[in-house]
Amino acid sequence: MNQSYKKTRPIPSPDSQNKPNDISPLDSTGIDATLDAFIIEDGEHLRLHGFDVHEDLAHHYSFAEVILLTLCGTPPDEATGIAFAIALIAASPVPIAEAPTHAARIAHVCSADAAGIASLAAIALAEQARWLLDEHKELLLWLTTPSPPPLAPQFQAAQFQPENPSRTTAIRNQVRHLQNALPRPFRQDPIFHQDPTLWAAILTIFVRCGLHSPSQLLTALLTARLTSTIAEAMAGERGQLQSYPANLPQFIYKAPEQS
């Protein structure tokens, strides 16, 4: 044994040496429990909610439809599958100005590997989605209200008038293109008569596709947005710390008063 190790490592007390198998409360915790699966059946046939992934779903359903099936439990009809795919596409871009991609780019600039960047992106997107859904709580309630009142101004494109009319115009254009891409029943949704923001429109389509709980909506957002976040983050030069604007924003240091 190494001499310094002998010097520094304290000898356990005789009492603790005599009780190596002391009973732990964790010994009896979950003793009758099993690790259960409810959606994915593992084995020779991999199944999602009972549907064979390779023999059935891969032949007859798009990726977006399988995402919806995974979240809802039943395969969507064609119109719903198409609407969901379009909503996923609309939700997918996460520009560099947004915190998840910005943060992931910093990881890339710091020479992080792809796994590190993807981990960071997933955390950041989950936080962003949580925040976004929190901001849209009232909209989600509005969508379930029979004969709802007019949509609240914070979910309408007109909120940026008159200060920023070009922003309102841009949002209205995006929403119009989204609406036009949707299959008929979704295109006629009452939300489109309410001058919605893009996020109000996207979340509405998610809800109409059968995603009602915050966890379903958060998962759909994360699924839609992960790839673009990672791709944009990794598009810059790796490991070039000087190429990143450290003073965006400038932090103005002011010592706290108590010290």
């Binding site: 964790l26 915790t29 909610h49 549907f51 007859h60 400038q250 108590q258």
Partner: protein, 273 residues
């Protein structure tokens, strides 16, 4: 288009050339020899801690040294480190903690509950008043954090810390006294035993940490439990943690069935059609 100048005030820190600023202190000139927990306090609030407070925090850290890999967040550390890297494992295990009633977040919530009780009870700590508040609280069926001990009759960490605290005579502080007042009342009302969160929250409030600061101080106590599990996990990398062997999990979902499109066989893949 001109680039807008964005600014944010910060009282946390500024990197310098010959010395650095931290919460109003010069790192090299002012913080030499500062105790670990005093430094943590400076990071959080700019406030140095006296040696007695640091001794108390050292004791709590010792009491919190429960690193059994079966403890749920530590199990997460083991699962992720099975892929060979310990830092992602440490991070992953802490990501989900903010909203669970487990780990450091409980300290913030418990501390907030104590502050609410203080707001109602005031400085007097009148036992009858406290009992009334607790009775009303229990009637709402809102969980009373800091109370309840799963899988055993009492929380051994609570007893150890309580005994040590009393031996060292730190017993005149408000939130400590509040916990001691609450203990017999809750035992009488609901057979509820206090757990370590109650005591730690009270002590951290008595040391002038806010609930959010207390949350982070608690996380710092627990860091080593993540470190040791992640390190050992990454060195072991057991195959069976990356994927549990057959027979250890149970599927309880839908039985095998055909999708409507498979049944009709009239459609092909929508992308290919």
């Amino acid at each position: 288009m001109t680039t807008p100048t964005l600014t944010l005030p910060t009282s946390v820190a500024r990197a310098g050339l010959h010395d650095h600023k931290l919460q109003g202190w010069n790192v090299f000139a002012d913080l030499d020899g500062e105790h670990h927990y005093s430094l943590l306090s400076i990071y959080l609030s700019g406030r140095k801690l006296d040696p007695q407070s640091c001794t108390i925090l050292d004791k709590i850290a010792q009491i919190c040294a429960v690193a059994d890999p079966r403890i749920w967040p530590l199990k997460v550390t083991r699962l992720i480190s099975a892929y060979g890297r310990y830092l992602p494992a440490i991070a992953a295990a802490q990501v989900f903690l903010p909203e669970v009633n487990l780990g450091p977040a409980v300290i913030a919530k418990t501390a907030s509950q104590f502050l609410q009780i203080q707001h109602t009870v005031g400085a007097s700590l009148d036992a009858a008043h406290i009992e009334r508040i607790l009775t009303e609280h229990l009637e709402t069926r809102t969980p009373l954090l800091g109370w309840g001990v799963p899988a055993r009759k009492f929380d051994e960490r609570y007893r150890e810390l309580k005994t040590w605290y009393q031996l060292h005579g730190y017993t005149d502080r408000y939130f400590w006294r509040l916990v001691l007042e609450m203990e017999p009342i809750l035992l009488h009302l609901k057979q509820l035993q206090p757990n370590i969160s109650a005591l730690i929250s009270a002590i951290l409030l008595d040391l002038d940490f806010s609930p959010d600061q207390a949350n982070i101080v608690m996380l710092s106590f627990l860091q080593n439990t993540f470190f040791t599990n992640a390190l050992e996990g990454a060195s072991q990398q057991p195959d069976f943690l990356r994927k549990l062997p057959a027979g250890t999990t149970h599927y309880r979902g839908s039985s095998p069935k055909l999708s409507p499109r498979k049944q009709s066989q009239s459609r092909t893949h929508p992308v290919l059609s």
